[in-house]
């Protein structure tokens, strides 16, 4: 029991991240509404970010902020943080492009769900 709890405790946030990813992926693929798809995309991306932050975290570590001379501490790994900063910017750009496309599609076809769109595209 102890061992199981141990294993669970050391890995549960990975599991959670994966659940979140799956939720996002499901929305991306299965949802008909285009805005819902993008919400799914956001969840999917943040879940990946969560995964990065999780593995960067070190037991008993502290935030990688410069400490005065003489103080020793275990920093958490700062590199994934930097990576994720970049990835967040990329993610918001993708969302912005996607949303502007949805607005355009709505202006052209008057619908924002996939089934309706398919009908409209075929009709033209």
């Amino acid at each position: 029991m102890e061992a199981v709890l141990e294993a669970f405790l050391s890995h549960y946030n990975y599991g959670m991240a994966i659940i979140l990813m799956m939720i996002g992926l499901y929305a991306l693929i299965a949802k008909q509404n285009l805005v819902k798809k993008l919400i799914g995309l956001n969840i999917f991306q943040t879940a990946i970010f969560l995964f990065y932050i999780s593995f960067a975290d070190v037991e008993g570590g502290i935030a990688p902020i410069y400490l005065p001379e003489g103080m020793e501490a275990i920093y958490v790994n700062p590199l994934p943080h930097v990576l994720i900063l970049t990835a967040i910017v990329v993610g918001v750009s993708v969302t912005a492009v996607g949303l502007s496309l949805i607005v355009r599609i709505y202006e052209e076809y008057g619908v924002i769900d996939e089934a309706g769109l398919l009908k409209m595209v075929k009709r033209r």
Partner: protein, 500 residues
């Protein structure tokens, strides 16, 4: 100067893009010459780097002087030294071709942003090609992808928005998978530098993390290169995009994605991993064979030239991935040759489709009867590039097919070699659709004399014709002078197979 060339290839265009934006605001006539000049510079740089690599060996450039693993490095070795000029050659050809095409297909107020995005797309792809850092690869991948989504949507056709959004959704999933895969690799090794990864990974080949990373990366890149069951975004995106954008993404972007896939599989994971540790070569071969056949069959079923060419790309990607599955020296030489060959011929074919849309306003087969009589040069270019697509000797398409079959037979894959050959026959099926319609269609038949041009339709403008004809002639020239070409390709393949 020359030692800073790698970084200049990326920074100069970004500065140029800003300049285009600023000057274009003032007067949109500045955009085109600036774009052309920048890409010309990049092309020259790419050639210079290739020569340098062939002469001196691998070039390492530490960004900002920070050596890896702390800093990001650009690495140009024989493999991407070979890819880079291909990318830039096609980008240059597209840039020349784009001017007239863009005037017609894109709203005037969007022309400035078109060139800015064009520049960013090319730069993103160049960055992907030369970076030695796997996370940097991801960033450049996303930059170029975002530029591509926007460029596709810049068409006047409303359907392009839908195509772009579809691409965006699938592209983002791919990006997410790649990002996740990179994360796994980092967990396993603690580094993001590709050379370091290759060095450190073998110790943890047994770990589930590494297997997961491999799977995620392969699936992510498979979406990006549109490997058969994951190709769904491609036909719409290629068909609906403005002609110049189609040329660019179908050649340069598709090829850089393939490059990234090869780079990660061979240079990060090494052959030892994916041939021995996780024996997936049979599976890859199977998928590639299915892609070759299914893509060609779907292409034959199309009623529109541009869409047909799009499905043909699905089929042709299969050839390149096929080389990956065989994974021996000769087959990979064929695969790398096909990266070049397919870029050149598909670029030419899409340019033809674009020219036809430019003049006729449509690319549906039923409207193209006898078009060869009015646009002889265009159709001749198609015929030559099409022959290369089919693999008629002595074109480049034949050479790559020859190497691929030779490699497959040498590895003992008899059945797959047969599929490859049959696939090239299917290519006849779709290329001939156009040839028959354009050259031998009844409506063009006139008693007692040569074909007469239909009124109003003329040969394409010179600035579109020249890059198109040059590419089609390249199909032949590269096919004839394939042996000197192999002097560049062979070391690249040795590098891939040797790991690191």
């Amino acid at each position: 100067m020359i030692e800073h060339l790698p970084v200049l290839l990326v920074t100069v265009p970004i500065v140029a893009a800003l300049l285009i934006l600023l000057l274009g605001w003032h007067d949109s006539r500045f955009c085109y010459p600036l774009t052309l000049a920048t890409i010309l510079f990049q092309f020259a740089g790419g050639i210079a780097l290739l020569i340098e690599v062939m002469r001196e060996g691998t070039i390492h450039y530490y960004l900002g002087g920070w050596a890896p693993p702390l800093g990001i490095e650009f690495v140009i070795d024989t493999f991407n030294g070979y890819i880079l000029p291909i990318v830039l050659l096609l980008a240059l050809a597209t840039a020349v071709y784009a001017r007239r095409s863009v005037e017609k297909e894109i709203k005037p107020e969007k022309i400035v942003s078109f060139y800015v995005l064009f520049q960013l797309l090319v730069t993103g792809l160049v960055g992907m090609t030369i970076t030695g850092d796997i996370f940097n690869l991801y960033v450049f991948l996303e930059i170029s992808s975002i530029a591509a989504y926007t460029l596709i949507a810049s068409s006047r056709k409303p359907r392009a928005y839908v195509a772009a959004l579809n691409y965006l959704v699938l592209g983002s999933i791919a990006g997410g998978f790649v990002l996740l895969g990179i994360g796994n690799l980092y967990v396993a090794t603690g580094t993001l530098n590709m050379a370091d990864l290759a060095r450190l990974l073998p110790a943890s080949y047994g770990l589930a993390t590494v297997h997961t990373a491999f799977l995620l990366l392969v699936i992510g890149f498979s979406i990006k290169v549109a490997l058969f069951p994951l190709h769904l975004w491609l036909p719409d995106a290629y068909t609906e995009a403005p002609s110049a954008v189609t040329v660019l993404i179908s050649t340069v972007m598709a090829k850089v994605s393939v490059y990234a896939m090869f780079r990660v599989i061979f240079s990060v994971f090494t052959t030892a991993y994916f041939v021995e540790t996780v024996p997936v070569t049979e599976l890859i071969l199977f998928i590639a064979a299915v892609a070759i056949v299914a893509g060609a069959v779907l292409a034959i079923a199309q009623e529109d030239l541009k869409r047909m060419l799009a499905y043909s790309s699905v089929s042709q990607v299969g050839y390149i991935v096929f080389a990956l599955g065989v994974a021996n020296q000769i087959a990979l030489e064929g695969g790398l040759l096909h990266i070049l060959g397919h870029a050149v011929m598909k670029g030419c074919l899409f340019m033809v489709a674009g020219v036809i849309i430019y003049r006729l306003g449509t690319s549906s087969f039923s409207d193209l009867k006898g078009v060869a009589a009015t646009m002889p040069v265009t159709c001749a270019a198609f015929a030559l590039a099409g022959a290369s697509m089919i693999g008629v000797p002595p074109t480049i398409g034949f050479a790559s097919k020859y190497y691929l079959v030779l490699g497959a037979l040498e590895a003992g894959h008899w059945v797959y070699a047969a599929v490859l050959l049959a696939g090239s026959l299917l290519a006849v099926g779709y290329i001939w659709r156009f040839i028959e319609v354009a050259y031998f269609s009844a409506s063009s038949h006139h008693e007692g004399g040569d074909h007469h041009p239909a009124p109003g339709v003329r040969e394409a403008p010179l600035s579109m014709l020249v890059p198109m004809v040059i590419l089609s002639i390249l199909c032949l020239v590269l096919g004839i002078f394939v042996d000197p070409l192999m002097k560049i390709v062979a070391p690249a393949v040795s590098l891939l197979l040797g790991g690191a």
